[in-house]
Point group: D2
């Protein structure tokens, strides 16, 4: 898969240590800088653009994290991991923001209680915007080369900046997930924006059959993971490394995602009250939380609706089911006589399709992250980076499941076949979907 604009013509792996930035790479850096700066600027603008439909009061809503907090935290990231490290004279915008907007980096210091983020009326939205401006100004100065940096520091700047850009893109998606979930708590069911994302991929959707179409693979010893030894490669997170061999048995993977129509059959067949479909922990969750349908489904006078960023909408039976937990995905698969693909199967199948070596799959990056059967664990040989930045991915490798692909709300220039997303199997506010295997 090629997502336009994603390739930067040089290895910008966040896992590179300073001394791994070779001289050749440094030579590239001028050209790179221009592309990186452009991407950085566009990303910073886009985060704010996503907030435009929101009122100032929406900006503090916390069912999970408030949009205002996302605005601040993504700036904190550049301040903490670039400005504070590379600019000796750097003055923090506010002495307490290090604490307030640290998400989970223990090596940076204590963090403000996550559950109270919605209680931070101060700093005001205006102050947070000023914080963004301040950080942007300092970053621009650094990126434009006004300050003379050593080669090592230049390397840190480039790799951290690219990581910060991708980090901010992740928060763009989280922001939309969070605001949808927050607005859903309001009985008025307010919309984020009229018409937002409604039928965005109608064409792709219409191509699908109501029968599950299977794409077959013979398996064998295959390679997965990102590869930073290849010269012209795009960014990846450290958890995608290293590229490594894995052995696959023959398998089939569904060409299309499971639709709302399919999932409704599962509900109507009593899926939520049949323990034999569910993992034991899933069945406990179903009963403790009284799940009877996907999170955003509402039944009104015998008709099903779905709460979306465009408000309450009639359920589109031909669209892929989204926002289901991993437990629900696994239970549906069991009920359907199938299973979820492993992440290696998924990556191999999608890679083959992208290189035209096999029949293509539909809806890979366009509807919802696809739950896999794989627990989120380290690839063989994985080592997180040294220092606080090493907490980015590695410490979450327990109790979560890998998801692959992307979602309708994923930002541009962000997705790739090796991308490993991860959430807890009980999470429902994520834009997920189901692709079956067998």
């Amino acid at each position: 898969m090629t997502v336009d604009g994603q390739r930067l013509g040089i290895v910008i792996m966040n896992s590179l240590q300073p001394n791994e930035c070779s001289q050749e790479q440094a030579l590239y850096s001028e050209g790179l800088n221009q592309r990186l700066i452009a991407e950085w600027e566009a990303t910073r603008r886009q985060t704010e653009a996503l907030c435009e439909p929101l009122s100032i009061e929406d900006m503090s809503l916390q069912a999970d994290s408030p949009p205002k907090w996302h605005l601040a935290h993504t700036s904190w990231f550049f301040e903490t991991f670039i400005l504070s490290e590379l600019v000796p004279s750097y003055q923090a915008f506010h002495p307490r923001f290090e604490y307030l907007f640290n998400s989970y980096y223990n090596a940076v210091g204590e963090q403000f209680d996550r559950s109270k983020r919605g209680l931070l009326s101060r700093p005001s939205l205006d102050e947070v915007i000023a914080y963004r401006r301040y950080v942007d100004q300092q970053m621009m100065r650094l990126l434009s080369g006004d300050d003379r940096l050593s080669d090592d520091d230049t390397c840190i700047l480039l790799t951290r900046c690219m990581l910060g850009v991708q980090h901010e893109k992740q928060h763009q998606e989280l922001l939309l997930m969070d605001i949808r979930y927050s607005l859903f708590q309001n009985p008025l069911l307010p919309e984020y924006q009229a018409g937002y994302l409604l039928k965005p991929h109608k064409k792709e959707q219409q191509t699908q059959s109501r029968e599950t179409l299977w794409v077959s693979h013979e398996g064998g010893l295959v390679e997965i993971g990102a590869d930073h030894n290849v010269g012209d490669e795009h960014f990846c997170f450290d958890n995608e490394l290293p590229r490594h061999s894995t052995y696959l048995e023959p398998f089939q993977i569904a060409k299309n995602l499971v639709t709302n129509r399919d999932y409704l059959k599962f509900i109507e067949a009593g899926g939520y009250s049949r323990p034999e479909c569910w993992l034991a922990d899933g069945w406990s969750t179903v009963n403790n939380q009284n799940w009877t349908s996907p999170l955003y489904w509402l039944k009104q006078e015998s008709q099903w609706f779905e709460f979306t960023l465009a408000g309450l909408q009639p359920l589109d039976l031909d669209a892929p089911v989204t926002n289901i937990s991993g437990y629900e995905a696994a239970a549906f698969a069991e009920w359907a006589g199938a299973r979820l693909p492993t992440e290696a199967e998924w990556e191999f199948a999608v890679s083959q399709a992208e290189s035209h070596s096999s029949e293509s799959l539909n809806q890979v990056y366009t509807f919802g992250w696809q739950w896999t059967a794989s627990a989120y664990q380290a690839y063989p040989g994985y080592r997180p980076e040294q220092g606080a930045i090493g907490e980015y991915n590695g410490k979450f490798m327990s109790n979560q499941w890998v998801l692959r692909g992307g979602a309708s709300i994923s930002p541009a220039n962000h997705l790739r076949v090796t991308y490993r997303n991860f959430f807890y199997p009980q999470d429902r506010w994520v834009t997920t979907s189901i692709r079956l295997a067998r």
Copy 2:
């Protein structure tokens, strides 16, 4: 006690049934109307004035209830209990507000989850203000007599309007309590308003000795409670009725409130780690919640500070201790070899002082509500009103304690000697204080 402007020249008891509004009272109503309208208008304005120091983001803060919610709920009260009942053609401002802004009236219907009030970014503050304007306009029309009401309905209008005014004053105090508590959750410790309420009663404060001064009473058969059979009487809540006899043993009551200096001695004497001072439920609470000092006290570099509506301030040792729970008040009293007064003792002692029959007490209405040793229960002969309005007070008569007097943040024209405030003994965000007895 005479609180200026509080007397309205007629009995406006909220417990009056329509047919209890006698003809004579009706005759008064024109003059009354003018005074009531003035009081009503001033109260409505004052609630909004209290919000002036707050940003739009502060208005949604929910450690307990958001200011915006208070603005809406106090309008809901007039809409639900007056406009909807007396104006046949009344159109609700919004069909879902009955549900969203109902606090606890089961007879009106289901209520939106109290813990999610902070998640209501919609209606926006602007819409809530518009709601207030709409209700005010309709109320003014009714109060101005443009609509012809029956005598019974006039009586309902007058009694309910007065109740609504007093209800709104209660919420003015709650709003200040809530915002202080909400701002306290923010590590930046922002202030509500610079200088707010600092040293408001310096003069009264300075008169007090460091020794406990006792005022003695002989007790005997006395009367307490409000009396609606007396012609020229002010408003009261139904829980102050009826006036009744009670027998008091001889007792002494402290002339002054317990100071921060006194309370600090209790802390320094290990009060929070001496179970013998505490009620059993209090001792559990101390340990489960790790109490070691009053809620708003913070120790920084061996100096004590107090978080106030004017931000963090050095602890004023001569000022009365405030914002302590009932358990803390009782433990302090036990440690000091005294006890809390019963509500009957308190009311009798203050009444005597107000009628100049005994030595006066200081700081009765000006610092903090004074915890009594009395559980909140019905007076003999108490009957709540019929219908939803009967839920105002009566259903809370379990597990709470009576507090008497008033607080620095209590609104004008709101306090009186018979007033029975009530909170749970573990509540700390209330502006409370301690007056000893023995």
Copy 3:
């Protein structure tokens, strides 16, 4: 009221300080000793007799506290408050029992976690019985006068021993409450003993009408509470002191207790789904705990049964309803257009009946403790004893309600008109009942 055998011919108030044991009383002590020893021996035997129907496995059952724990704790009481204090050479039976079997006396020291009492398989039942024998032997030696005690110590011995006897009687009742509740957790619904307490008071029961019969009282200034200044008086707990005046409005009190038939009507009228009947805290409890009928009621194939110490029995509609919480009692009373009596009303009415000054009340001590409308608080002038023993009653004076009378499972020689029992209004495993007032 005279409960046979309860009068001891001398003041044995647990609140007496040593120096209050006058010379005259000391003279009585020999005759007293004989009666006290007899009562003490009978009580110790009776506790063990209550365990006879239980298997060794039942003895460790902990829904609340295990029977084995009651056996040990009642011995601990004599050991801690008499033997350890009065016998200089006393050797504790086991050095850790002070910790293991301390219920809640902070002044004695830390207590083993109440919720883990069922996890104490050691000491074994045999060891606990040996502990009882050891304590009994030491106590008997002390009571028989073999050791020479000072007058003060003799006074302590007598008052503490009587307190220990009454304490053990309280635990006899708790033991039966606890074992019923524990057996109820078992789906096999095992019985404590076939036929136990079935129809014990059939005769009294049959006298009652299906209409509520009211006994009227004029009220006025009356005295309640125990009086230790009268020579020939029985034991009381410190919370019954001092006798004091209180003023009563005219009231009526029901001659009989509310029956299962009455209560069933409340259920059938939708009582458990009508918020207007309930206190706010009660209504929360109903909903959080899904109450739809009394704790021990079970409906099988449209017939109601009650789980009793004799196993599951058809509900006796003519018998008083028992084992209802205070919230249920108050809700029933509200629904029935009545209220619960205050403890002063109850005591006055029963006292008058016992002295033949008024019509008698039925079922005062024979079915279930009667919830009152009174929160459990100190009488005016109440002072708990000094030291650990002062924790017996006083520290529980918050959040609980007073109950009066007695229960079918109350031991002999234990009840009296001034007795103040107390439980939380949500407690349901207590043998309670409802007597209405208005």
Copy 4:
């Protein structure tokens, strides 16, 4: 690996479907029967023998599940999955035991609340023993061939019986884990049996060095899992199937387990207060549960002790550390600059050693189950059995980690190189240990 007596000379896979029991296998069945019956009898006896050191009161102790419950549940297993299915005239011992002693088989029906197992004083221990005798008698009759069974039923009998034997062995280990944990709740720290398992493997222990010794493997494409196509094979659980290929990078695995001495260094280096060592979920657990050392370690007067089945013992610094959670194991490995092995690495390394193709590993089956880095998931091609028995393993494949090897308390004839044990990473009462890899 050959564990003596474990091989039965025929394929007894629990995953065999009736029609997979070939004729040839049936021919073997007579000889098999004798060996199976012997193993079955020995196992049933052994479970009861494990209870001999326990008092009747110990038998009901529930910190997790009571020994008495294990005695009943292991009988329930034979009753439910063999007797009820194969003997048309079978009369259940007690109609409610199906419900009371069902652990987690939803397809069998509802289950009694796990947390209340300790509240079942009835059935008594005597009744549970009688239940065992009854089931044993019926089983013996079936196994002895008195009833004529069809070939299919014979196959079910043999496979289910072998499964029941292994199931009971698992419960023997659980019983010892549970009783240790239950006794640990008692402040008297009673022992299960004096000297039990103390220094059981002293010789093996002494061989180890204080330096980590590493065994190197080149990896490559290897096979793991059990193989039921090989004729002379022992029992396995369905989750060990099928045997399949997997690719391993070169790795090293520790020859010995981590010792208490090693682990103490981690503690002394501040391991429990250094977030950088811990997985995020592990760090939360450390803080929420205040972990500062392994579950059974106690420090008294600056010396470390360990609570064992033989009571409190001085910590043996040369013995492997046991009873640590997966989070603790992973944190130790991180701190030590190593990692946990994957289950494939572990199985491959142990297989090689058992076939003498590589240097042997120590302490594989003799101290504690070794945490792996692998989440517990299905092998490729895994299918659970049909029906209730399919709930045995498959439904637990989320949130748990695989452990390999065996423990000092594991029963004889139970362990093998392909065995996949699984527990939650927060579990500490399991007899676990740490083998490092890198």
